[in-house]
């Protein structure tokens, strides 16, 4: 998947992946794609919930064992 930036939130737990995600997305330009790496099991539901609340598009999600990869297109 093509991406403009990566945010590595592995090892962080709720609420930190979301807090850092919001910060990162704010720094990016509209329409860019962010790859978010996380291994907090809560992120699986939290990232889609955050995207739907904020209007950023969750383009795709991948799972590799415990690792979650989210691709978010910024609003």
């Amino acid at each position: 998947m093509q991406k403009d930036a990566t945010l590595d939130a592995r090892g962080l737990m709720c609420p930190m992946p979301i807090v850092q995600l919001a910060k990162k997305v704010k720094e990016m330009k509209s329409g860019q794609v962010l790859e978010l790496l996380a291994d907090d099991i809560g992120a699986k539901e939290d990232v889609p919930a955050w995207c739907s609340r904020t209007g950023n598009a969750l383009v795709s999600t991948e799972e590799e064992g415990k690792l979650l990869k989210f691709y978010i297109k910024t609003k």
Partner: protein, 134 residues
């Protein structure tokens, strides 16, 4: 207009200290305007010198909790409050309980505002979500 969320915190233990910060930073990260009102034993959490402990016998495990939380990226209480403020979370001390609990205005962390119940209720009446943490 942004969504509004209000919380009331009435206890001053470690767990009650972190809950509004976790909820508050998450809500702020989602574009929600957040107001947290501290009353009774919660008011002490707003002091510069605040160092909350787990309740009862669990207080002995506070250090272990802090270490575990630091490992997963959750900052200490003071730092976490600063981060929340930077994200726009509003913290208020209840004016009446400040007097009851012996908390002076100069004891409060920078950025904390003092508010009465009527003003908080006005904010709460405009909020979609109001949580009580006590």
């Amino acid at each position: 207009m942004a969504d509004k969320m209000c919380m009331v915190v009435s206890e001053g233990t470690f767990d009650k200290a972190y809950m509004p910060l976790i909820m508050g930073t998450t809500a702020a990260a989602s574009g929600t305007e957040v107001h947290v009102f501290y009353t009774f034993f919660g008011t002490g959490l707003l002091k510069k010198t605040a160092n909350p402990k787990l309740p009862g016998m669990y207080r002995l495990f506070t250090g272990m909790f802090k270490k575990k939380m630091a490992k997963v990226g959750i900052p200490g209480h003071d730092e976490f409050m600063k981060q929340a403020m930077d994200m726009g979370v509003n913290f208020y001390a209840c004016s009446t309980t400040m007097d009851l609990m012996g908390v002076k205005q100069e004891d409060l962390k920078p950025g904390v505002k003092v508010l009465g119940a009527a003003s908080f209720l006005k904010l709460a009446s405009e909020a979609k979500t109001t949580l009580f943490i006590g």
